[in-house]
């Protein structure tokens, strides 16, 4: 019974192809639901191991926590598509990308949400004709430099006010450097064509239609990838032994490395990561700062979203570069604001 459930899921995409016209995805969905309903007891029994239970709770928590932010993101993105013509956006930004990139980074302050919301918005900005370097700077800055995150950071580190400035500088630096790097070395063909396809200019009632339709389509696309991110993060959360993180003690260099990897895999919400970082005992501030700068810029959840939104070729280049730049910016910023403490 329950083996049927997973088989149905893997089989499902085939039904969507033109060749599989006899069975539509609608019918497949019905079968999946009915099978799952009847196999409920079996499913629950399967998942009864403590580790699996913990992981499934974390999975649902990540999804439940992030979905509303993703909804907000697609609404903003839909509104930009429908109501803000591309030329207005471009008039607001300086012509030269060198200057437009930092402005987009600072504009991230205006979107006080988790990182999931920023991905659809960034794609929409590209579709509206904003240079991709500028949109990417916004993508990296928005989750990290907004007021909610900075306040959370200052609450989590009451004895180290420098942490807030260090985080701000590190994250903004990452966004701007990545924007400039993309402007210099990035190639438009790395981004899948559909992400850049321009929406037609519309007016009146069709604007609303476009708003609803593009929000809905964005949501369906992105939410699936969010689920991948949630699954990955849940598994890693259970598998990674926290013990070896805490046992590092005061080794700064190793700490920086481990904390960057941890930020990548835990995929925490940027409003919560400061508390997690603060709670790791005996770790110097610099690795903690690396954790805070890397997390909102790139993690498994964001990587999955980027693959879905911009394509694999883009994500495989952009994500590792982001990681390296984020670590460097965090270390530099830490040396300036925290005195390397």
């Amino acid at each position: 019974m329950s083996t049927g459930t997973s088989a149905e899921i893997t089989e499902a995409p085939r039904a969507g192809r033109p060749s599989g016209r006899r069975v539509t995805s609608l019918e497949v969905l019905c079968v999946v639901l009915v099978v799952a309903l009847f196999g409920q007891d079996q499913l629950v029994r399967w998942l009864d191991a403590p580790a699996v239970r913990t992981a499934s709770t974390i999975f649902v928590a990540v999804c439940v926590q992030a979905l509303p932010f993703l909804v907000l993101g697609v609404l903003i993105s839909g509104a930009i598509a429908a109501f803000i013509p591309g030329r207005v956006l471009n008039r607001l930004l300086p012509r030269r990308q060198v200057f437009a990139v930092p402005i987009a980074g600072v504009a991230g302050v205006a979107l006080p949400t988790c990182e999931c919301a920023a991905v659809p918005v960034a794609r929409r900005l590209m579709q509206q004709g904003v240079p991709s370097s500028v949109a990417l700077a916004f993508l990296l800055a928005a989750p990290a430099v907004n007021p909610v995150v900075l306040v959370a950071t200052s609450v989590a580190f009451p004895n180290n006010p420098g942490m807030v400035f260090a985080r701000l500088a590190g994250s903004l630096g990452t966004a701007i450097v990545m924007g400039w790097l993309w402007a210099r070395f990035g190639k438009a063909e790395w981004i899948v064509e559909r992400a850049l396809r321009r929406a037609a200019e519309l007016d009146g009632r069709s604007r609303w239609r476009l708003f609803f339709e593009s929000s809905r389509a964005d949501l369906v696309d992105a939410a699936g990838f969010l689920v991948i991110g949630g699954l990955t993060s849940a598994v890693l959360n259970v598998v990674i032994p926290r013990a070896w993180v805490d046992s590092l003690g005061s080794q700064v260099v190793l700490g920086v490395f481990v904390m960057a990897v941890l930020a990548l895999f835990l995929a925490l919400c940027s409003e919560a990561d400061a508390f997690v970082a603060a709670s790791i005992a005996g770790m110097p501030l610099l690795p903690k700062l690396v954790f805070l700068v890397v997390g909102p810029a790139i993690d498994v959840k964001l990587f999955a979203l980027q693959v879905g939104t911009f394509g694999k070729r883009f994500a495989l280049r952009f994500a590792p570069a982001t990681l390296v730049v984020a670590v460097c910016c965090a270390v530099l910023s830490g040396l300036v604001f925290l005195g390397g403490a």
């Binding site: 969507g16 990540v62 439940v64 339709e213 939410a223 919560a272």
Partner: protein, 254 residues
């Protein structure tokens, strides 16, 4: 994937978010203040799906302008080429959280998370150093109810020793580690993924028969000299009484 299927999935996911935020089950996963986000997010998902369904049902006949007709056709992935096909497949994954929420309904994190976490974590998120500081005095009352995280922080870092000679009531669940029995609680900042364990070792009293994840009110006193570097900031409570309770509505401290 067909548009109709996508809409149904959106209805299911939106419905799942609304369901857990209305029944209170959301507290197993996220902090209380997240409720409004869930209600809003779930409602918007439903509206987006319903608008699309309504348009599919009633809009077809009314459309004359070619642009609209084209737009609709474009959204049927059955007719689309390459890119969209790949993209739409990911939407199938939305079935996973729907099934997880409606059928499995994972419980709140418990003793497994405590035992999985390192034993040597700091006792509080806020006290990021190991330096002592002055805590505000405890409210009156005997026993005085205190959160687990507050108790641990005071036990280890209060320069004014506000717990000395005070009887406290703690609420938490049992986590057994080897021969020791701990009262534990998870503290979350945002969602269960960032849960952070707090625990207090129980001493004295009748601890036999207490199994993992049993929820308790425990009244007792801080054993002086515990909660220091030597016991890795896990303080000990001399137990006076134990009462079994149901899991609180909000299983986490925030």
């Amino acid at each position: 994937m067909r548009r109709e299927t996508q809409n149904i999935l959106l209805v299911l996911v939106g419905g799942a978010l609304l369901k857990i935020s209305i029944t209170g089950a959301y507290l197993q996963y996220v902090k209380p203040s997240h409720r409004y986000w869930l209600l809003g997010g779930g409602a918007v998902m439903l509206v987006l799906a319903l608008v699309s369904i309504a348009r599919d049902l009633f809009g077809k006949r009314a459309t004359e302008d070619p642009e609209h007709a084209h737009h609709d056709a474009d959204d049927h992935d059955d007719h689309d080429v390459d890119g969209h096909q790949h993209q739409a497949r990911s939407a199938w994954l939305l079935v996973v959280p729907v099934l997880a929420i409606f059928l499995i309904a994972p419980p709140a994190l418990g003793a497994d998370s405590i035992n999985r976490a390192d034993t040597r974590v700091a006792t509080t998120r806020v006290a990021s150093g190991t330096s002592k500081m002055a805590f505000s005095p405890l409210p009156p009352g005997n026993p005085v109810p205190v959160t687990m995280s507050d108790f641990s922080a005071r036990a280890s870092f209060d320069s004014l020793n506000s717990l000395t000679n005070r009887e406290v009531q703690l609420t938490g669940f049992i986590a057994v580690q080897g021969k020791d029995t701990y009262l534990a609680r998870l503290v979350i900042a945002c969602c269960a993924a960032d849960a952070f364990p707090v625990k207090v070792k129980l001493a004295g009293g009748d601890l036999t028969g207490l199994t993992n994840d049993t929820w308790l009110h425990v009244v007792g006193r801080l054993r002086p000299g515990t909660g220091t570097l030597t016991d890795e900031y896990v303080s000990t409570l001399d137990v006076r009484s134990i009462t079994r309770i149901h899991q609180p509505e909000n299983p986490y401290e925030t």
